[in-house]
């Protein structure tokens, strides 16, 4: 029992995401996939989907979709109002959407990205084993547009039955990101390391799925010159010539020529994906 999902309101940027396409970085194809992976997994679990099923990742102002068959849906990630045909329903829980009804995911409250899982998943054709839209490489389905239609897969099983959804809430004192120093921390001055951990940075509005950009004091280099292109990992904190650290997220380039002062371990990246522009950022260097 597959079906079709019609996009009623695409929102600022809503993309199809799953767990990404590992194993292709040597071809210039990055990992991609949901930025807040725990939220993506949880949404799938609530509707009885396996974790690799594709969800919708919204940005800031949600989206609205209309399935042509009855479907179990769940919205996780940033808290937001969820409505079915205008009637409020639970966020972070499996809800029933009748055939032809509109599931509306409202504006983000305290976070940035919501994840919308639908029983059976969004069944667009995979590209290199993944349905994720990679905004840097252009692989995967186009971001949603009003009126677009997306195939729904057949439901896989009963919903997971989780009835309590953990949400830490927006961090009270801003975003705290541990940074394992290296491989190029020796390209920076000791003062730069103090600046990095000084808490003077904020999330820049120029942040996107490629990277969490920051505003604030510049990190001074201890050495000049260019770094020959080298492989980049998820969570790498790259420092471009303007000195403001950029934390690489799922759609990051596979190689780069600016020095990486350290790496944010993956478990902390979900919080980075939910940090709104202006959120204070404190990097906490961790010795190798």
């Amino acid at each position: 029992m597959s079906g079709t999902l019609t996009v009623v309101r695409a929102g600022a940027l809503t993309t199809v995401q799953d767990l990404g396409r590992p194993g292709h970085a040597h071809l210039g194809v990055g990992l991609s996939g949901a930025l807040d992976r725990p939220a993506h997994r949880l949404a799938n679990r609530l509707v009885g989907n396996p974790a690799p099923c594709a969800t919708l990742e919204t940005t800031v102002n949600g989206c609205a979709v209309r399935p042509d068959r009855a479907v179990t849906a769940a919205v996780t990630g940033t808290p937001c109002a969820v409505r079915v045909d205008g009637r409020p329903v639970a966020w972070g829980a499996a809800v029933r959407v009748p055939a032809g009804a509109v599931l509306d995911v409202g504006a983000a409250v305290g976070g940035v990205r919501a994840y919308v899982a639908l029983g059976g998943g969004v069944a667009v054709p995979p590209v290199l084993g993944s349905r994720s839209r990679d905004l840097l490489s252009g692989l995967g389905p186009e971001p949603l547009t009003d009126g677009a239609k997306l195939p729904l897969g057949a439901p896989c099983g009963p919903s997971g039955g989780a009835d309590v959804v953990p949400w830490a809430g927006p961090p009270a004192r801003g975003l705290v990101l541990p940074v394992v120093l290296g491989p190029r921390d020796d390209w920076f001055t000791a003062e730069a390391l103090r600046v990095l951990s000084g808490g003077g940075h904020r999330v820049s509005p120029a942040s996107n799925r490629i990277g969490l950009r920051t505003e604030g004091p510049a990190l001074a280099r201890a050495r000049e010159g260019e770094l020959p292109s080298e492989g980049m990992v998820l969570g790498a904190v790259q420092v471009p010539p303007d000195g403001r650290p950029v934390v690489f997220l799922a759609d990051h380039p596979t190689t780069g020529g600016y020095p990486v002062i350290g790496v944010v371990p993956e478990p902390s990246l979900a919080a980075a994906a939910q940090a709104a522009p202006g959120t204070p950022v404190r990097f906490v260097p961790v010795r190798k």
Binding site: A25, L27, G28, V180, E230, G231, V260
Partner: protein, 211 residues
């Protein structure tokens, strides 16, 4: 007399990756080939990504990066050899927008640029910038040219360019700063094809003049 083993330095990258630095670009390509041999032989610990670059190879998704780093210090990596099999041949019309500029930099005629470029054998050192974009080495140093001072906002798909020690082909239309000498109809990247990338690290490449 045996050649000295290339010096390798393994830098930790986060908690699950290593960046292995080689002394030269050739040594990095030799290390990449050795890593692929060891992975095929089942003697490399499980790793999600092996990403060669200009002078390094990144190993990402390792359970025990420190153990591998210690092991790497004892590796003896054989130098790159002339590999078996036929190279990928890319037919090129040498009519690029920067052909005259490259001819002037090389101090030869435009026809000579085509003859020289198509007479060399290249090797994909690494990919990046866009899916299927290979950085091909094999240009002698006297033929290295700088990037354009002002990058183009749109370079057509199939454009064959030069920049620094590299030559390469744009898999799709994109902005770019390489000096363009020609264009090929070969499809460098097709996500629906297996393999999607015509060129991957280690692939040997030749260009062929077509009218």
């Amino acid at each position: 007399m045996s050649a000295p083993a290339p010096r390798l330095r393994a830098l930790p990258v986060g908690r699950h990756a290593l960046l292995v630095e080689a002394a030269t670009g050739d040594d990095a390509q030799a290390l990449h080939a050795e890593l692929l041999r060891r992975r095929a032989a089942g003697t490399l610990p499980p790793v999600r990504e092996i990403v060669p670059a200009a002078r390094t190879v990144l190993l990402d998704g390792l359970a025990e990066p420190r153990a591998l780093a210690a092991d790497l210090a004892r590796w003896s990596v054989p130098p790159l050899t002339a590999t078996e099999g036929a190279p990928v041949v890319l037919p090129v019309r040498y009519d690029g927008a920067d052909l005259a500029e490259v001819a002037a930099l090389w101090g030869v005629s435009e026809e000579e640029v085509a003859r020289i470029h198509s007479g060399l054998e290249f090797r994909v050192a690494f990919c990046g910038f866009a899916p299927g974009f290979g950085y091909l080495t094999g240009l002698p140093e006297r033929l290295h040219v700088p990037r354009r001072a002002t990058p183009r906002t749109a370079v057509p798909a199939g454009s064959v360019g030069l920049a620094g020690p590299y030559t390469g082909v744009y898999p799709r239309s994109s902005p770019g700063g390489w000096q363009l000498v020609g264009r090929t109809d070969a499809v460098l990247w097709d996500a629906g094809r297996e393999p999607a990338a015509l060129l991957s690290p280690g692939t040997r490449v030749r260009f062929e003049v077509v009218a």
